[in-house]
């Protein structure tokens, strides 16, 4: 018998005779119940808690991005090929990631992308390779990630995010920059991937 048939027959024998469980799935919170502004505040607070640089603007995006980048001393960015025109900051060289070799991407100091959505309760940014996000390597190899989140992309809770995502896309949740506590439980921020994450919240 091959492995597949063997495993399936063992599993079937193991569960034969036990009745299927009738436990009803208990109600868990599925939607944010507070008001919208409290949700935004929660999101920005959670980001700050992860040492993410947070900027909020209700105006045009490009000048706000230029300000953040000037503060970080970054003048060269890898960007997805479909970066919105109104996100192009002056004075910054933009390198479209048209399937760049990993080595080339690795040599660029930062990446600028949008997001699929964001979660207030956990301060997570969710990328799915959709509009203005590029492939996964784009937000992984450069040392710095600047992410634009628009107000209408923000949801309150994890279940709202799961319900909104398209399963067959490559999905990455980023909750702050990478971190480790493996050495004497001292938390060190910035292991692999971007060591610095900034978010521009628009709205």
């Amino acid at each position: 018998m091959n492995g597949r048939d063997l495993i399936l027959s063992r599993v079937r024998a193991a569960i034969a005779g036990s009745p299927p469980p009738v436990t009803p799935t208990p109600a868990i919170n599925r939607v944010w119940e507070g008001d919208r502004e409290a949700m935004v505040e929660r999101f920005l607070d959670r980001l700050r808690d992860y040492n993410v640089g947070v900027t909020r603007t209700s105006g045009t995006v490009a000048p706000a991005l230029a300000g953040i980048l000037a503060g970080r001393g970054i003048d060269r960015l890898a960007v997805p090929t479909d970066l919105p025109a109104e996100w192009r900051p002056d004075g910054v060289a933009l390198v479209p990631d048209d399937n760049l070799p990993h080595g080339a991407l690795n040599a660029i100091p930062g990446a600028l992308t949008g997001a699929a959505l964001a979660i207030a309760e956990t301060g997570s940014i969710v990328l799915d390779g959709g509009a203005a996000q590029g492939r996964r390597a784009l937000t992984l190899l450069p040392d710095y990630h600047l992410c634009v989140v628009r107000a209408e992309q923000l949801v309150g809770l994890v279940p709202e995010a799961i319900a909104a995502l398209v399963p067959n896309r490559p999905i990455t949740f980023c909750s702050g920059p990478s971190a480790t506590a493996d050495i004497e439980l001292d938390r060190v921020v910035g292991v692999h991937g971007p060591r610095r994450l900034d978010v521009l919240f628009v709205g």
Binding site: R12, T25, L140, R169, T172, C174, L185
Partner: protein, 466 residues
């Protein structure tokens, strides 16, 4: 060699450095997990939901596995079935060879430890590089992990610095022992490996039957590197990890980080479905591993052992783990969950002492995010150890002697008199830290209370005489 918990625990008890590290670690994590689990108003409902989903997944496990296979295949992936560790090793070695490479990068995976993959790869001339910081430390030191989540918790910064200086070539030269410097060195050392290695091997935290989506939850970004940059990705998962629906992730992505590291969300979660054109590996293999899990499923009391999501919260609240240390469990699964998983995977004959590695205080059951009744399963397994004749000979002998003694008043009185006389030589501060064999097995890991000067019967007798 059999897993003898009492002997190994005695080593752990003597290791004061390790006890200090563990006390600090478990205390810190306990505080954080308590805070962030209390923060969610529906935490209890989430635990119930987690348990219910796992139960349902396991009650129809054959159907969900077949559905998972179908959906992964449809999305361009390949599914392999491994009935035991040997078959899993054979599949992974073959796939790596087919990719024409002699090195692989690995994401922290307990399942690959369980099947002892690394020695098999090395034997086949393939060098495995662990990329999780702690796993890399343990691998470089040629040791074994001592904690599910913080595998190198037994090593301090100076030991790690010396290791990096010896093993990391130019990246280790002149390195300090500050954790940020050590972490930077690991980043520089591994970056090249991430870029040049063609094959990555990972475990999986979940796989969704409905969509064929596989998920890995991590902190350091080494996971994203392995899942994204190589051409070939091989993921191995125990068959119990399957979830019925994509929506079930909304429960487990809340339970796992909060229970494991006390974070609202861990830094990175990756979810992928087969292969994605132009993004990530062009070849994806999912290896489904049984290796004793179907046997656990067949035991109706112990079945919920398979609910475990490997958060390690039970380790962090366990008084026995905190003192004995992870190596005492002689397994990649330590602590309370290890005490029930390992004997069931490896057999009671080999690991029959582990169900006794507990005071049955119940703290593990109280905090488990999927409500596994670990104490009940421990007691159930202890019963099986005795019934199936795997109890230690010394213990069986001692219990036999005790039964005869308690059945015979004269013998009991005599032995108590002899005991009171004999203990004078061994007593320290009212307890007996050492007893002669076969009772030494008991005092190896705990003190025995000294017999009182007078027995209750003697006292009663004298009171009656007055």
């Amino acid at each position: 060699m059999s897993t003898n918990f009492p002997t190994r625990a005695a080593d752990g008890l003597r290791n004061t450095q390790q006890r200090r590290n563990l006390a600090k670690a478990t205390n810190t994590i306990r505080g954080k997990t308590a805070k962030v689990t209390a923060e969610l108003p529906d935490w209890e409902a989430l635990r119930e939901a987690g348990k219910a989903i796992k139960r349902e997944a396991h009650a129809k496990l054959d159907q969900y596995l077949l559905q998972l296979e179908e959906m992964v295949t449809k999305a361009g992936g390949h599914v392999h079935w491994a009935a035991d560790a040997a078959e899993a090793r054979e599949i992974i070695v073959r796939l790596t060879r087919q990719a024409g490479t002699d090195q692989v990068i690995k994401i922290k995976s307990m399942t690959t430890d369980e099947i002892e993959l690394n020695p098999a790869l090395e034997e086949a001339g393939i060098r495995p590089y662990e990329t999780d910081l702690a796993d890399m430390i343990v691998q470089m030191a040629k040791e074994r992990p001592s904690h599910l989540l913080v595998p190198a918790i037994h090593k301090n910064r100076v030991e790690i610095r010396d290791l990096f200086r010896a093993e990391m070539g130019e990246h280790g030269t002149g390195l300090s022992d500050r954790p940020p410097d050590l972490t930077r060195a690991a980043r520089a050392y591994l970056r090249q490996k991430f870029m040049e290695t063609k094959v990555a091997i990972s475990g999986a935290n979940f796989a969704v039957a409905e969509t064929g989506t596989v998920g890995v939850v991590e902190s350091e970004g080494n996971g994203r590197m392995c899942l994204t940059l190589p051409q070939v990705l091989i993921s191995i998962m125990g068959i119990e990890k399957v979830l019925p629906r994509f929506d079930d992730l909304s429960v487990f992505l809340q339970l796992l980080p909060r229970a494991a590291t006390g974070e609202r969300m861990n830094p990175y979660n990756s979810l992928w479905t087969g292969v994605h054109a132009g993004d990530g590996p062009c070849e994806f293999h999912l290896v489904l591993l049984d290796n004793g899990r179907s046997k656990i499923l067949a035991d109706e009391v112990a079945r919920e052992t398979l609910h475990c999501i490997r958060c390690s919260r039970c380790l962090n609240v366990c008084p026995v783990y905190e003192r004995a240390g992870g190596h005492a469990y002689d397994s990649m699964y330590q602590g309370p969950i290890g005490a029930i998983v390992t004997p069931q995977l490896r057999g009671l004959e080999e690991a029959g002492s582990l169900p006794y590695a507990s005071s049955l205080c119940g703290a593990c059951h109280e905090v488990c995010p999927v409500k596994i009744n670990i104490p009940q399963i421990l007691v159930h397994l202890r019963g099986r150890v005795v019934r199936e004749g795997h109890a230690g000979k010394g213990e069986a002998l001692a219990m036999g002697v005790a039964a005869r003694m308690f059945g015979n008043q004269g013998a009991l009185d005599w032995s108590l008199w002899a005991g009171r006389l004999g203990q004078k030589l061994l007593m320290r501060d009212g307890t007996l830290p050492w007893l002669p064999p076969p009772l030494s097995g008991w005092t190896l890991s705990r003190d025995f209370p000294a017999l009182p000067e007078q027995s209750f019967r003697d006292w009663w007798q004298k009171r009656e005489d007055k």
